[in-house]
Structure formats: structure tokens, C-alpha cells
């Protein structure tokens, strides 16, 4: 971070702070704060991650290649892209997946939630509350929590490896199902692995509840999927705390995307209302009643109500979701038929000229895809709306709310609080289109 003074042409002394790196996030971004006469006049999250043009390079590609290609949007949550893709493809071609194949998709998503949330909790987020530079530094005084987190992360990754061959960019997902189904011995070993870390998940949740959390709340409009019976992964309607309730195909009726000059990520807003929040806080608030009673009790024990509007407490909500994902994975594994691998690994998907929409709950919020296909199943146009681009506007409002009471404090204090408030939402910046560069201008 460098601090400099300049006149900025206004005649008044202007102070600017530049932080060359927002750390412990995924991707590249910068933050600009402008302070004028003791007032915060602008707070901008500037994403300068180089554009990779996925929607363009998908044009002309086969539906069979789509989940492999979209996985490469993000190394932390490839499954989210694979799942939204296959659901959009199946929607276009009139296929609905039920039974064990549907259950296995939920299981794969459990793996991604566990590994991604555990990574976020112990390696990216918890150090903020402990005043440490990184998760590795937790080994000395918070070794149990670190080891719990790493063990959970490993177990989540084991789900991805057994079902998909590897942790990052698994290879098994295809339209209609999977390329190969896990064998009985593999499933039994996996169930043992998850059962062995289940207690760690409960312990980690209780530990996150002991972290010192700032008193801070915001009146978010939460948006998440909601399913009639389940805590949402792959399916549901898009609902909001502001009364929204629509089919995923009608996304454009309620939401609009727009481009801001300061970002390579498209922003999104609710038509007529503005910023909204997706991710763990939204899912939890809108789907508390879909959590098993024991996990609801754990949430209460961890100091959460049925709705949590404190973004710093998102670390507790993530931990609760890890508990849920572990329990759900065990439930799914136990319910799979013994002769699973004797069945078909996928159902045939016959392409046709059509449009399809898919929307699933990535660890950081819902990820919406829409494809228009030619008769041969090649993509004519693609649209992908990832969680981080949806949350950009809300993150900017959080930054404003966090920074405003601190304007008379030193630049370093403001920087630390701003960086923390970004990590509350754990932006997956590569998804949305890198290090945070903070520039504070005071005049």
C-alpha cells in the first residue's frame, strides 16, 4: 500500500491510498474510494480480471462439450458451471433426470460445497477475525480449527474425485447424467470418509460462532433458489425476500445485466429495485425451513436467527451449510441402490433446435445459464450469469456502509475493513470475468 498526497486540481489536499493486492480472494480486482469534504462520494469494486469471452467461444460448440468448457470459468466452483450447463441443455432438449442420477448430482454438489466452503472458512476468511495473514498461520493457536477445515476440504474433494475423477474440473458430468457411475466399494469408502469428518463439521461450525464479529447489518434483498422439499442445489424457483417468485426461465423479467466502465464483469440488478444479494446468507434466509431440525438447532446454538443480515457472520452460515452438505451426502449415499452401477450412467439426450435455461446454487450464489441451440445441438448463443457479478453492486453498497463510519480513521484501518467486507462474500472474481487495488481519494 502506498500513500501519497496530491492536489488533484481541486486546490485542496488530496490523499490517495493504493493497495496493490486484495489477497485471499480468487481473481483480480481493485477498489476505489473517494472522500470529499469528509464524505464518501464513491466506492467502486473495479474488476480488471482479463476477459476470457466464454459466451463467445461457446458458440458453435457441441452440447456434449459444454459442461467441460464452462467448468473452466472457475477453478473453485467448476461443478456449479457443469451443473447449470447440463440442466440448461436438458431443459432445451426436453429431458428430466430423476432417481439415482439426480441424487448423484446432488452428491457431487455436496462435495463442491464442502470443499469450497471449507477453503473459504479456514484459508480465506477466518484469518480476518484472528488478525492473521493467512490460514497457515492458524496452525499455532487455532490448529484444531485449521485441521478440521482441511480435513473437511479433503473429504469434499474426495466426493469430487470418486464421482468425477479429480478435484478441479472433474470429467464425469455429461448431459443426461454421468460418463461413469461410482462402484459399490467406492461408495462405501466414500461414506466412511464423510462419516469420519462429520463431527469435525459440527465442531467447526461451533468454532466459527466464537469468532469476534462486528455488529453490522444491512437490509439486503436476498435471492436464491427454493425447492418444494429440499435445501436447494440444482432446482427450484427463484425467490427473493422482496416477494419475487419466478421460474428460472423468466430471469430477464426481473433482473437486468449492465456494463460499468470500471469493471470487466457485467453487473446485475433487480429491475426497478437495484442491488440484491446471492449466496449463503440468501440461501439460508430463504430456505431455513428446509434444513433438518438438528441443523436448525445447531444454527440457533451458533447464534443465528432464521435470517442473518450480518455479512461478517456469513462464515457461520457457510459452516452450517458444510454440516448440511455432509449430512446430505451421507443420506444420499445410504439411499443409493446397491446395484447402482448396473443401471445406465446417463439417459440419452437428443438435440433439437431449442432454448434452455439452467440455474443452480454455486457455493457463492446462484449461477444462471441460458443457451440457444441449433438443430444439431451446437450452441448459437450463450449467456452465463455468475454469482460474483450479481453481487458486485451489493458489495459496493457494503463497502460504502463499512467505510462511512470510519472516514476519520487512518487509511490502513479503512483498507482492512474494506478488504474484510469483500471477503465476507468471497468473490470469485475469475468467475465474473484479481488483487484489490485500493485507492482512497480525500479532498
Amino acid at each position: 500500500m502506498t500513500t501519497s498526497d496530491d492536489d488533484g486540481g481541486s486546490g485542496a489536499a488530496r490523499r490517495s491510498i493504493r493497495v496493490d493486492a486484495l489477497t485471499r480472494v480468487e481473481g483480480e480486482g481493485a477498489l476505489d474510494l473517494e472522500i470529499d469534504g469528509g464524505r464518501l462520494t464513491a466506492a467502486r469494486l473495479r474488476i480488471y480480471e482479463p476477459p476470457r469471452f466464454f459466451e463467445a467461444l461457446l458458440r458453435g460448440r457441441s452440447h456434449l462439450e459444454t459442461p467441460d468448457i464452462t467448468a473452466r470459468i472457475c477453478g473453485i466452483c467448476p461443478v456449479a458451471y457443469q451443473m447449470s450447463s447440463v440442466h440448461a441443455i436438458e431443459d432445451a432438449f426436453g429431458v428430466r433426470i430423476g432417481g439415482p442420477l439426480r441424487a448423484l448430482r446432488r452428491l457431487l454438489y455436496c462435495g463442491e460445497w464442502i470443499e469450497s466452503h471449507a477453503l473459504h472458512i479456514v484459508l480465506l476468511h477466518a484469518p480476518d477475525f484472528l488478525g492473521l495473514p493467512d490460514g497457515i498461520a492458524m496452525a499455532r493457536d487455532h490448529g484444531d480449527a485449521l485441521r478440521d477445515g482441511l480435513a473437511l476440504k479433503k473429504a469434499g474433494n474426495e466426493i469430487l474425485r470418486v464421482l468425477g475423477g479429480r478435484e478441479i474440473h472433474p470429467v464425469s458430468v455429461r448431459p443426461g447424467g454421468f460418463h461413469r457411475l461410482p462402484r459399490r466399494a467406492e461408495r462405501a469408502a466414500l461414506a466412511e470418509t464423510i462419516a469420519a469428518v462429520r463431527d469435525r463439521a459440527w465442531r467447526l461450525a461451533r468454532w466459527t460462532a466464537t469468532l469476534p464479529v462486528p455488529e453490522f447489518e444491512r437490509p439486503y434483498e436476498f435471492v436464491a433458489l427454493r425447492h418444494p422439499d429440499e435445501y436447494p442445489f440444482n432446482e427450484g424457483r427463484l425467490i427473493s425476500s422482496g416477494g419475487l417468485d419466478l421460474d428460472i426461465a423468466d430471469f430477464d423479467a426481473a433482473f437486468e445485466e449492465f456494463q460499468a466502465p470500471h469493471s470487466t464483469a457485467l453487473h446485475a440488478r433487480l429491475r426497478g429495485r437495484g442491488a440484491y444479494l446471492v449466496g449463503p446468507l440468501a440461501r439460508y434466509a430463504l430456505n431455513f425451513d428446509r434444513l433438518p431440525g438438528a441443523i436448525q438447532n445447531l444454527a440457533r446454538e451458533c447464534g443465528l436467527g432464521t435470517v442473518c443480515r450480518n455479512p461478517f457472520r456469513s462464515i457461520v452460515v457457510r459452516a452450517i451449510e458444510i454440516v448440511y452438505a455432509c449430512e446430505e451426502a451421507l443420506r444420499i449415499l445410504a439411499a443409493l441402490p446397491d446395484d447402482l452401477e448396473s443401471g445406465a450412467a446417463f439417459v440419452p439426450v437428443a438435440p433439437r433446435a431449442a432454448v434452455g435455461t439452467g440455474c443452480t446454487e454455486a457455493p457463492r450464489g446462484f449461477c444462471w445459464h441460458r443457451y440457444e441451440f441449433a438443430e444439431d445441438g451446437s450452441i448459437l448463443t450463450a449467456r452465463i450469469v455468475p454469482p460474483t457479478s450479481q453481487n458486485q453492486a451489493t458489495i459496493e453498497e457494503d463497502l460504502r456502509a463499512v467505510a462511512e463510519p470510519l472516514l476519520d480513521r487512518d487509511d490502513e484501518t479503512i483498507r482492512i475493513h474494506c478488504e474484510r467486507s469483500i471477503r465476507n462474500h468471497d468473490p470469485c472474481i475469475s468467475c465474473s470475468t484479481h488483487f484489490l487495488r485500493l485507492a482512497v481519494r480525500r479532498s
Binding site: P50, P51, A56, P127, P133, I136, R166, V171, P261, T264
Partner: protein, 256 residues
């Protein structure tokens, strides 16, 4: 001052998956953090120490003027520079723009493409600066990554094979899916993944890029016999290492 080797991790255009592979070493992470001094690894730590660095791991491809300048600075600060992953060694999936018109790509995605600063190409790190070692894969294999770091610590060359996925597939005792009629890039693809795709009953899609001296015409002739159209052959070669010279040249041979 620490006498441990100083490690830096850098990101260019990528999905972060290759550097994330380091964090996926759950069992080895703490040992790794003791064996090397993590001087710069933005995704993992807020500690940012100035160069020079003994080893730089570089992820991602070069797609902007800014990054083309930044990689020169990274090289200048690094004793050993290792390019990790398909983006850093072959341009990655975003190198598909090299076969098209980047302005058309931008216009297809952004309402106001004039706000973007981007190059017409996505190029590997070696196209810009001398690279000491390359580790393939989309993503890199974490065992290979650990082998690379262990070798660098021991002052030896890493044991990374140059042969094809076929050898790994035989070791894994997979039944050959190409023989069963499924087009597979395994015979031409660099080893390293452990032949995952054939083990999952699908053809290799070449995410580790071309092996040393692949026989591309022989492979595509076999694909043609299996019924693949020139268009399908071209697409199969244009995936995560589309700009690797061997795959790029063969895909152009199958242009309409």
C-alpha cells in the same frame, strides 16, 4: 532472515484452478509452508514480500498489454520461473480467440466492448519470456506439482514424463476405449493426469496438451475411420490447449 527458498505465485488470465491445486494439497500444505517461504501467493495469504524470488509459479495466459508488461517484471524478479497449467503453457481455452476475431468475441459478450483492453491473442508465458520449466494440465496434477517443488528443493530436475496418456492408461489397466470405437486424444496427449477420462469411459480431451512428437495425422485418420467429420475433429483439437502448435496445426488441416 529465512534461508528457505522463496516461492511466489502469479496469476494471469485463468480460472485460478492451477494455483488452487497447491491449496488442494491438504495433507502437505503445512509441510510445504515450512519447506519454502511463501513470499507471495495472493489467493492464500495477505503477506506480500518483495522480490527477488527463488521460484515463481506462473498461472494463466497473456491476454492484455498490461499483462505482457507484467510478465517481464515477474521474470526479472525470479531465479526459476515455472509455467503451470494449460493456460500458461498453451494459452488455455481463451486461446480459441486466436482462431477467430477478438472484436467479434467482445461484441458477443459485452454491450460496450470499447471499455475493454484486450489483445487479439491469448499466448503462453514462453511466448513472452524464457521459461525454465513447464507443467502441463487443465488443471495441473497436484502430485506433479508437489514433485516439481520437491525436485526444486532438492536441486534436481522433476520426474515428469513426456510420453502419452496411453502409457498411463495401460498402467491403470483400462480397456482401450479407442479400440472400442470412441475417439480419444490419449495417443497424442502428454501424460500426467493418470488417464482419468478413459477410466471414466470417455475419450481423452487433451487437457494436458500434446506429448513430445505426437503423430497427429495418424490419430485423426483413425478418428475419420470412426466416423468423425472434419468439423468434429477440428473442434476436438480446439479445446483447452487449442493453441499448442501440434494441435493447432492439425486442427487447421481440418478446416472446412
Amino acid at each position: 532472515m529465512s534461508t528457505r527458498p522463496r516461492l511466489a505465485v502469479w496469476k494471469f488470465a485463468s480460472c485460478d484452478g492451477c494455483q488452487l491445486s497447491l491449496l488442494e494439497c491438504e495433507d502437505e500444505l503445512l509441510a510445504l509452508a515450512q519447506a519454502v517461504e511463501i513470499a507471495r501467493f495472493a489467493e492464500a495469504t495477505s503477506t506480500v514480500l518483495p522480490g527477488p524470488y527463488d521460484v515463481s509459479l506462473v498461472e494463466g495466459s497473456i491476454t492484455t498489454e498490461h499483462d505482457a508488461r507484467r510478465i517481464l517484471e515477474v521474470r526479472a524478479q525470479s531465479r526459476v520461473l515455472v509455467a503451470i497449467g494449460a493456460c500458461a503453457t498453451a494459452g488455455g481455452i481463451q486461446a480459441l480467440r486466436n482462431f477467430g476475431d477478438v472484436n467479434a468475441f467482445a461484441a458477443a459478450v459485452y454491450p460496450s466492448p470499447q471499455f475493454l483492453a484486450t489483445l487479439a491473442t491469448a499466448t503462453p508465458i514462453s511466448a513472452h519470456v524464457p521459461v525454465d520449466l513447464e507443467l502441463r494440465g487443465c488443471p495441473v496434477d497436484k502430485e506433479q506439482l508437489l514433485e516439481l517443488i520437491a525436485a526444486l528443493l532438492a536441486g534436481r530436475r522433476p520426474a515428469v514424463a513426456g510420453y502419452s496418456v496411453c502409457i498411463e492408461c495401460k498402467r491403470r489397466a483400462n480397456v482401450c476405449i479407442a479400440v472400442q470405437g470412441t475417439p480419444c486424444l490419449g495417443p497424442a496427449t502428454h501424460a500426467g493426469c493418470g488417464a482419468i477420462c478413459p477410466a471414466f469411459r470417455r475419450g481423452c480431451y487433451g487437457c494436458f496438451g500434446p506429448m513430445e512428437t505426437p503423430n497427429m495425422p495418424a490419430l485423426t485418420a483413425q478418428w475419420q475411420q470412426a466416423g468423425m467429420t472434419p468439423g468434429a475433429i477440428r473442434q476436438a483439437l480446439r479445446m483447452f490447449t487449442a493453441a499448442a502448435p501440434e494441435f493447432a496445426a492439425e486442427s487447421e488441416r481440418h478446416d472446412d
